[in-house]
Symmetry: C2
Subunit: 408 residues, 2 copies
C-alpha cells in the first residue's frame, strides 16, 4: 500500500526533520542558511526544525562561523552522544561487542572468547550479561540506547529474530531475540554475520564513494557473502541470500558440511585448506607443514599451510594456489550475474600474505566474462575486527531511519 501513502502535513514535517538531521550528520558543522540551501527548505522551516533538535539535545551549537558579508552565522552540528547502538558479533571463537554513537563512531568495545558450548539459553543469557558489561564500561545510560543488533553465523528468520539453523553453534530453531529481550528490554535485531559485515564494508567502501552494487565476501572458516544495493542490504526472499560458499566449483569434489560435493567452501575455505594441509602431511608430501606443526595433524590450521607455502613447501603452495583459483571462479559467477562496482574480500584468509589476494584477482580476471564488470573495483576489507559488530549497528540505525523511529 505504500504507493498510496498520503502526503499529509505530519508526514511532510517528519520528512523535513529527518532531512535536516541527515544534512547535519553528513555536512555538519553547518549554518542554517546552508542547511536550507542543501535541503531545499525555507529558512523559517529550518529555524523551527533546528530549534526542536537543539531543544531535544540531538544537535548543538559550536559558536559562530565565518561571515560572508553580514553577521557571522551560528554553526550547528550533531551531538554524537545523543543516542547509542550496541552491536554484538557472535563468532565461532570470539564474541565481539561494540557501542557506537549517533555519528556511528565506536565509543566502547569488549571481547570474550566464545569458549566451550553452553546450552543455547545460557549462552544467550551470557550475551545479555556482556551487553550490560559493555554499557557499564562505556558509561552509557540505558535510556540512551536505541537498540541492540546481534550478528550470528547461520540462517536467521528476520522478523522473529529466530536462528533457524547455525551449524557453527549446532543450533536449530532458537528464539534468540525473544530470549535476549527477556534480559534486555530494548529494540533487538538479529542478522546473519556475513550480511552485517557486508553492510559495514561496503558503506562508502573506504574511499568515500557510494557504490551501486557491493558484493562482500567473508573468507574464513567458512565462506559467505553479502550484497548491498545502494545503501541497502539485500536480504533475499527467504532470508538466505549470500550463500556463495555452497556453489559447486568442483564436480564430484570433497564432501561439504551442507551435504553436497565440491562446494566452494569445501575446497577453498580456511577449514578446507587446513584439511588439505593435514592430508598432504599424512601422505608425506609436505615437509614444510610437518616442520611447522611438529607432525601433529590436529594443530594444522589454514595459517600453517599459508606459512609453509611462503617458505616454499610445494604441496602447501599448490593448496593455496588451488584455493585462490576456486575463489576466483566462484566470484566470477557473482560478477557475471550481478555486475557489481565493488567487490570486497574480508575474513581470516585475507590476513595472510597479500599474494593470496593478488592470486584471487588473477583468477577472477581469467574466469569472468571479459565484457562484464566494467565498473568493478576489487579491494580488501579494511575496517578491522569489529567490522561485523559495526555492521549490525549500522543495520539497526538504517532500520530506525526507515521507520522514522529515532529519538529526534
Amino acid at each position: 500500500m505504500e504507493f498510496y501513502q498520503k502526503m499529509d502535513k505530519l508526514r511532510i514535517a517528519q520528512t523535513n526533520k529527518y532531512n535536516v538531521f541527515r544534512c547535519l550528520i553528513r555536512n555538519g558543522p553547518i549554518n542554517r542558511a546552508a542547511i536550507a540551501r542543501m535541503t531545499n527548505l525555507s529558512i523559517p522551516t529550518v529555524m523551527t526544525i533546528t530549534a526542536e533538535l537543539l531543544d531535544k539535545g540531538v544537535i548543538r551549537s559550536i559558536g559562530k562561523g565565518e561571515s560572508s558579508g553580514g553577521k557571522p552565522p551560528e554553526m550547528l552540528e550533531l551531538d554524537p552522544r545523543c543516542f547509542y547502538c550496541v552491536g554484538v558479533d557472535v563468532g565461532r571463537t570470539t564474541i565481539r561487542l561494540i557501542a557506537t554513537d549517533a555519528a556511528s563512531g565506536q565509543v566502547a568495545e569488549l571481547q570474550e572468547l566464545t569458549g566451550n558450548p553452553l546450552p543455547a539459553r545460557d549462552f544467550i543469557s551470557r550475551i545479555g550479561d556482556l551487553v550490560l558489561n559493555l554499557m557499564e564500561k562505556g558509561r552509557i545510560a540505558p535510556e540512551k540506547i536505541v537498540g541492540i543488533g546481534v550478528a550470528m553465523p547461520g540462517l536467521i528468520e528476520k522478523e522473529s529474530g529466530r536462528v533457524i539453523f547455525s551449524p557453527d553453534f549446532e543450533w536449530t530453531e532458537i528464539p534468540l531475540k525473544h530470549w535476549l529481550k527477556e534480559k534486555l528490554p530494548f529494540t533487538i535485531l538479529v542478522e546473519n554475520a556475513n550480511r552485517a559485515l557486508a553492510l559495514n564494508e561496503s558503506y562508502f567502501a573506504g574511499d568515500g564513494e557510494p557504490t551501486h552494487t557491493a558484493f562482500t565476501v567473508n573468507l574464513g572458516h567458512g565462506i559467505g557473502a553479502g550484497l548491498v544495493l545502494g545503501e541497502e542490504l539485500y536480504m533475499g526472499a527467504g532470508g538466505t541470500s549470500g550463500e556463495i560458499g555452497h556453489i559447486i566449483v568442483e564436480q564430484g569434489g570433497p564432501l561439504c558440511m551442507c551435504g553436497n560435493r565440491g562446494c566452494l567452501e569445501a575446497v577453498a575455505s580456511g577449514d578446507a585448506i587446513a584439511k588439505k594441509g593435514r592430508a598432504a602431511m599424512e601422505k608425506g608430501e609436505a615437509e614444510g607443514i610437518y616442520a611447522l606443526c611438529g607432525g601433529r595433524g590436529e594443530e594444522i590450521e589454514a595459517k600453517t599451510v599459508f606459512m609453509a607455502s611462503e617458505r616454499g613447501d610445494q604441496a602447501a603452495m599448490k593448496i593455496i594456489d588451488d584455493a585462490a583459483e576456486y575463489i576466483g571462479i566462484g566470484l566470477s559467477m557473482a560478477i557475471n550475474v550481478l555486475d557489481p562496482d565493488r567487490l570486497v574480500l574480508c575474513g581470516g584468509l585475507m590476513r595472510n600474505d597479500v599474494s593470496f589476494f593478488e592470486k584471487i584477482k588473477a583468477s577472477i580476471e581469467k574466469h569472468k566474462m571479459k565484457q562484464t564488470g566494467r565498473q568493478l573495483v576489487i579491494t580488501r576489507g579494511i575496517k578491522g575486527e569489529n567490522s561485523t559488530a559495526a555492521g549490525v549497528c549500522r543495520l539497526l540505525l538504517n532500520t530506525l531511519w526507515r521507520e522514522r523511529s529515532l529519538p529526534i
Copy 2:
C-alpha cells in the same frame, strides 16, 4: 540528492494524481469514494483529480454502479486508448514488434524474418520502417505514442542507447538510439533482450502474485538472464548483469564464444546442444540424429537432438541430460546467492518436451544448498513469443511513471 527532495505543493499534487491514476488502472471500474478510501485522499481531492483526468481523456465514465444506500455512484475506469507504447524485439532470426495500450494490452503486432545481415545503419533504418508499418497497421496516431522500446541481444549502454557489443549481429559501438531517433522523433529506450523478457515474465508471474526477487533465464541459442527486484528491473553497475551463460560449470570444457572454456552457454545452450549432436553423429554414435537430418550435419539444430532423444537415441539422450544437469548447476548458484522466490525458465529450449524442464528442476534440487530457496517457485515462461517486446514496453512505461512524464 534525492534525500532532500522537497515535499512541496506541486510534488504532492503530482503524487496524488499518479496515485489516483494507478488506483484506476489496478482497480477500475471504481467509484470516487472507493478511490478516496484506497488512496487515503479526501473526496474533494479525488473529485478535482478525476475531473482533470476525464478532461484529458485518460479515464472515462462507464455509468452508474450499485448503490450502497444513497444514490448510485458514477463508475470510472482507465481509457486504455489514451496512449500507446511500441516494443521491438530484435532477434537473431526474427524481429517482433508490438504496440501496447495504457493498460499494457497488446493492440497490434508485426513479425519479420531478420534475414541476411545489413550494414547497421540500414538495418536500423529498416527497424524504423517496421515501427511505422506497425503504427499504420494498428491505426495509432503518432501523437498517442509515448515512446518506443527496443530490446537487443548484447551489451547496451543504457543512457546513450548505444549497442556496445552484440555478437549475434557482430555490432560494436553502434549508436542505435541516436540513429533510430533520426527516423522516429519519439522517446526511445534500448535494453538488453534478456532483461526485457525478465521484466515481463516476472510481472505478477502468471498467478497474480507480486514477487520479491524473480530470476528469469532465457535458454535459447545462447543463455542469459534478468533479475527483477520487486517491480524493478535490476541493471547492474555497468549494465552487464544477468550473464549467467558465462559462468564456468565445466573446468577445461569446450571453448565459448566469450573466449573462456566450459561456460554454461558452451555446454548447455541450443547452439551447444546442436554442436554436440553434430559431433556425436560424425563419430557414428547417434543413429537417431543421422536419421532425422539425413546425415547432413549442417541441418542439425537443438530441436533435432531433442527429437532424437525422445525417440530413444542414447547419444542424444545423454546430450540432453547433461545440458539439463549443467543448467541446474548454474541456476543453483543464482539461487544460493540471490535467494529468489521465483525462477522462470523461458526460451527456445523450453518449447521441447516438458521432461527437460523436470530434469532441470531435479538438477537444481540436487545442487542448490538444501537450506536455501525456502520461498522458491520454479515455473516455465508462459507469456508467449511477444514476451520480450512486451517487456520493453513495460520498462518504458515504468520509466515514464518514475519520471512522472506520462501524458496525464
